[in-house]
Point group: C2
Chain length 381, copies 2
Amino acid sequence: MEDIGIVGVGQSNFSRRCSISIKELAFEAFKEAMDGLEIANKDIGASIICSSLYDKQRSAENPIAEYLGLNPRPTFLIENACAASSTGLRVAWSLIKSGLHKIVAVVGIEKMSGQTSREAAEMMGRAYDITWESSFGLTMPAGYAMHARAHMAKYATTEEQLAKVRVKNSYYSVKNPKAAYQKALSLEEILDSMPVSLPLKMLDCCANADGASCIILAEGDIAKEITRIPIWISGLGAASNTGVARRESFTSLVCAKEAANQAYSMAGVDPRDIDVAEVHDCFTIAEIMAYEDLGFAKQGEGPRLIEERETYLEGKIPVNVDGGLLCKGHPIGATGGSQIRTIVMQLRGEAGEVQVKDAEIGLVHNIGGIGHYANVTILRR
Amino acid sequence: MEDIGIVGVGQSNFSRRCSISIKELAFEAFKEAMDGLEIANKDIGASIICSSLYDKQRSAENPIAEYLGLNPRPTFLIENACAASSTGLRVAWSLIKSGLHKIVAVVGIEKMSGQTSREAAEMMGRAYDITWESSFGLTMPAGYAMHARAHMAKYATTEEQLAKVRVKNSYYSVKNPKAAYQKALSLEEILDSMPVSLPLKMLDCCANADGASCIILAEGDIAKEITRIPIWISGLGAASNTGVARRESFTSLVCAKEAANQAYSMAGVDPRDIDVAEVHDCFTIAEIMAYEDLGFAKQGEGPRLIEERETYLEGKIPVNVDGGLLCKGHPIGATGGSQIRTIVMQLRGEAGEVQVKDAEIGLVHNIGGIGHYANVTILRR
């Protein structure tokens, strides 16, 4: 199945980028992805723009594609909440596999600073069912706080264990020049931070950001020609979940489990084969649930993994050694692409100080909404 | 290439549907598409929701997919202005062709009545480049009026010829119980209607509407099993265009020409082989340009086609005999799916009073924005 490769990855700095347009932001990521590739813009057969469009520009795919020099090739936009750009990767894979295109660019983009925090929170609220969820006051932190409470009640998970996820991710954030927050935090700083939706405090939560990512995929033979080290797409899994109100369990995300099973099965590997992973740590509890949903730990044993430092670089499965969403910031549509970029750099051996030695197989876990959508992608050198 | 079939099509009534939610609206189309199909909801491997989200619900794919009983299968949203649901068809085709899924549902949806006309016009304006286009007052009718003026200047096209497109489409609209406007109009009524952006008058323009469409696609062997008359996807073409300000020519839509060439080439047919067509008549001039861009008439000779009634049922190439966007109304994300439904019904021989005799090959031309995006799809019985 490994006949489609990732040939280019790029990312803008993630932070508050008030002064530039989404077109310029997209260009930063696109330029990095194209650097060193032996192709011209006209060789890209289609582009997929992935975004929740917090910016005022609607139908952003045409202004962006034209700015990147990708006209007159087809372009369209995919929205899938925070999972948009990994869904973009899945669709791009299909467009190539089906024979419609040979090279496809997936551009993730979000500019959230054009809205006040209150406006952005209101827009984000309308991403879940406006009849039964956001209208009753459900917010993103509140949804994940329910998951955290359930995990604490069933498995005696502690606030310290949650905070230790942020300690790890912030420890690595100082090595990532593109992260919005590059500062190692102490356990106390995290535990003492302002309550948001208890047990989640300010530093248990990722922050909005402006940013762009870009992934370029190519059909196998072309991939080998145009880049030095293509990274192969080995497993793809995707699933959705019910609205929050209708879930049977709050101790895991069933769609993530389902997506992981599909991806492992397609790649013919199991959790022990994964050398390095990026998981969707929009909140600290989300990373702990991901350990379990992906099979890195048994159900209920996720907290032990962080306690025992097994997800640090020296541990058995390094996770989010680029700082994660918690420290990079979370520009909705761009996040999945940023996670994929991190794993591609690891598998190429280009991850610098946070390189996982001899990494051969990597995994990306990208979630949309409060576990409404899940994509799991397995990549191989 | 004809190994993927359309097995089900559905459409809600298009009109002002203030009192129902987008979930209920989607269900009307989905139910019709599933009627008579020998499958259950759980057999649908993925759903694609196609919309520009004029409704307040953001990330509508999950609320809709859950309401339709399509969880926990993956679902995502495609936005591509007015071309969204034909782009959805293209992507669904790829998802099946690539082996990821066997049956995919494409749901087009738009609910525009929750906004005032002024709000909707403002949102629509932000669908083209907000830096260089809508900020200078460009609106959808103004964009197409520029195309109309250019065609009049170069080919001596008249306002009467434009109006005759609406005469034809309104003549057929009375046979379409799902159209928002079911009334035959006289040439005088159209010419005397209120100026909008001259030469385009009120009745040269389609109107906003609420509505949903649904297309269900299946892999070939399954298609033959689960439905009586599968309709095969024979040609697919897609392209984009620059922003309006940077176009070399205003007498045609270059992206439509390009998409048509791709589709004809993939299907191995030429314009003379097409028995019946649906074209994107968001404005009367758009249908005339479509005649030329699709090769039904030579460049500049589109007006003669309508003058000579060649696009009526008795003519050489019947076009928009369901009333077109002009009479059905234009619920952005749902329109492409409605066009596809019309052609599928024609090829199945189920078009009733507007049936084109022995129709074997049909074409759908679906445009986004002011010719920013184009999809051309060729279907075959």
